[in-house]
């Protein structure tokens, strides 16, 4: 690409980026204001800023503890989802039968069911087998989030030449070896994507964990909602809390981007 067009793309991107980031500007600046300062003028910079919100929010959220639970639940759930849904997608993509078409549609249609309508029967069922805890929650995430992940995996898997499987098969690899040693590494970009999408969904989830988790396993969003009473909404703490809680995810996102490697399958096609 030519230098000038790169430059204009950069400018264009910059403008878009500013528009996009504007709400974050509001979150960040207001998290340094006193409650009075916030409502005096939301759009302005903090006049006499305070970092007290962060300290208070950190304490009110029981941050280290809830961060621990958030991390534990998110990381394990996402690993489970990536592991099982990539496998399922592989089975469905490499088998071109009516049955797998139907199974895919089943997974896909599961995404259409509004959560609120299954919420009560779901928790009732899990309650009866004493699975209303962290582990039950992780299993539920597999059920809810596998569909999208499978759908995403299934779509990109088509661009991995079947010759890869064949070649490994002739070398004596069994299905699991073929998948985990050959195919899965080639899926890195979509794995990162699936990972990111699930991480944010689970990291920010409120409703499901609020129904499932006992109080001693509360995650950050659950703690955070104590800032929101019916009348008293503690925006100053909530904004600081939000800022604290999205830092790990943003760090992860920036880190993960490096793994979205350009054109991993390039060498495979002739």
């Amino acid at each position: 690409m030519k230098k000038t067009s790169r430059f204009f793309l950069g400018i264009f991107g910059l403008i878009l980026g500013i528009i996009w980031i504007f709400p974050f500007y509001m979150i960040l600046t207001n998290s340094f204001k006193t409650p009075k300062g916030i409502f005096a003028s939301v759009l302005s910079l903090p006049t006499n800023g305070t970092t007290a919100n962060y300290g208070n929010s950190f304490k009110a959220l029981d941050f280290m503890n809830s961060l621990g639970h958030s991390l534990l639940i998110t990381v394990i759930s996402v690993l489970i989802i990536v592991f099982f849904s990539s496998m399922a997608a592989y089975a469905l993509q490499r088998n071109k039968s009516k049955l797998s078409g139907a199974l895919l549609m089943l997974f896909v249609s599961a995404m259409l069911i509004p959560f609120q309508t299954v919420m009560i029967p779901l928790t009732a069922n899990f309650g009866h087998v004493h699975m209303l805890n962290m582990w039950g929650l992780m299993f539920m995430y597999l059920g809810f989030d596998a569909s999208l992940s499978i759908f995403l995996y299934q779509g990109t898997m088509g661009s991995i030449p079947i010759a890869m499987d064949e070649s490994a098969e002739l070398e004596g690899a069994n299905r699991f070896q073929i998948f985990f040693k050959i195919i899965f590494p080639m899926l890195t970009p979509i794995t990162v994507t699936v990972g990111i999408l699930n991480i944010i969904a689970i990291w920010n989830d409120y409703l499901l964990p609020s129904l499932v988790l006992p109080q001693n396993q509360y995650t950050i969003p659950l703690q955070m909602f104590f800032f929101f009473g019916e009348y008293t909404k503690q925006w100053h703490l909530a904004l600081a809390g939000l800022t604290l809680s999205i830092i790990p995810v943003i760090l992860f996102y920036i880190f993960a981007q490096r793994y979205i490697i350009k054109g991993v399958t390039d060498g495979a096609v002739k």
Partner: protein, 286 residues
């Protein structure tokens, strides 16, 4: 992999089990309840199709359905165009393109309430200020009626979701072998032609996925609706999901809500699955 082979089922079973236990069994229970007078705790009588009859006389449901359909049409188009546009933009090589990815994606990190809080201020204050500064009357008085409420919802949804759609497109864009793009360059295709004839057809699976996601999310959208307008004013911006939730929780009519949900599911499933089926047919494996 043959579907009669053991490995086929070994690969599928864990997710199938989870799906059944977590989604389908509760959903089927819900369908059953929709024929009763279930109140979330139990039911005392079977009502047959009464709930289904009620819901079609319930103008709130139809109004919400109509509003949602309009919303879905607009957002599906905007999200896919903008999401794909952003994906194309940030996959170009220029300074800061990686940073931009993060920026565009960040809105997904904000949950419902705070989202509403921030955007209400943008609509009421930033828009107002802009409107006054540039004498554009249409920028003032946002969210005070159904129309601005609608566009408000669209804006927030697009702002929030296009980064999501973007990263899906990015993942697929990166699977295109570079030789094929090069071949098109040699054939004399301009960037736009390359996009239309080569890139886009080759990311057809991403398009299927994103169409589906935007469609189904558009229909299911709740958080943004709740936090931004809460359906108001006078229910003019109440969408399907909210209508269902309200039926269940505010009106305590869980059975009717399940009936609405089933109808809603059938509508969305028909549209989305048709779309998936149709689009999948056009895709090719390498």
């Amino acid at each position: 992999m043959k579907n009669r082979s053991l490995s086929f089922w070994l690969f599928l079973t864990p997710t199938l089990v989870a799906l059944a236990l977590v989604v389908f069994i509760p959903a089927i229970m819900g369908i059953f309840y929709s024929f009763t007078n279930w109140d979330g705790l139990g039911y005392t009588e079977m009502l047959g199709f009464k709930n289904y009859i009620t819901l079609f006389h319930n103008s709130g449901f139809l109004a919400a359905l109509w509003f949602t359909v309009k919303f879905v049409i607009v957002t599906v188009i905007l999200l896919n165009v903008i999401g794909l546009g952003l994906a194309l933009l940030v996959t170009q090589k220029f300074k800061g393109s990686n940073l931009l990815r993060t920026v565009f994606f960040m809105p997904n990190l904000i949950g419902g309430l705070i989202l509403g809080f921030i955007w209400q201020f943008i609509f009421t204050e930033a828009f107002d200020a802009l409107g006054k500064a540039f004498h554009m009357a249409w920028l003032t008085g946002w969210l005070t009626d159904g129309k601005t409420g609608f566009w408000g919802l669209v804006i927030v949804t697009v702002w929030q979701m296009s980064g999501y759609i973007m990263i899906i497109y990015i993942a697929y864009l990166q699977n295109i072998p570079s030789e094929v793009i090069e071949a098109a360059e040699m054939d004399g295709a301009s960037p736009w032609q390359r996009f239309v004839h080569i890139t886009f057809p080759m990311i057809a699976p991403a398009f299927t996925v994103c169409m589906f996601l935007t469609l189904s999310n558009g229909f299911k959208i709740y958080d943004q609706n709740l936090s931004l307008t809460n359906g108001g004013p006078y229910k003019s911006t109440e969408m399907l999901a909210m209508n269902i939730v309200n039926t269940a929780y505010s009106e305590n009519n869980f059975a009717l809500a399940e009936a609405k949900a089933l109808i809603f599911f059938l509508i969305v499933a028909a549209i989305s699955l048709l779309q998936v089926y149709y689009n999948r047919k056009r895709e090719v494996d390498l």
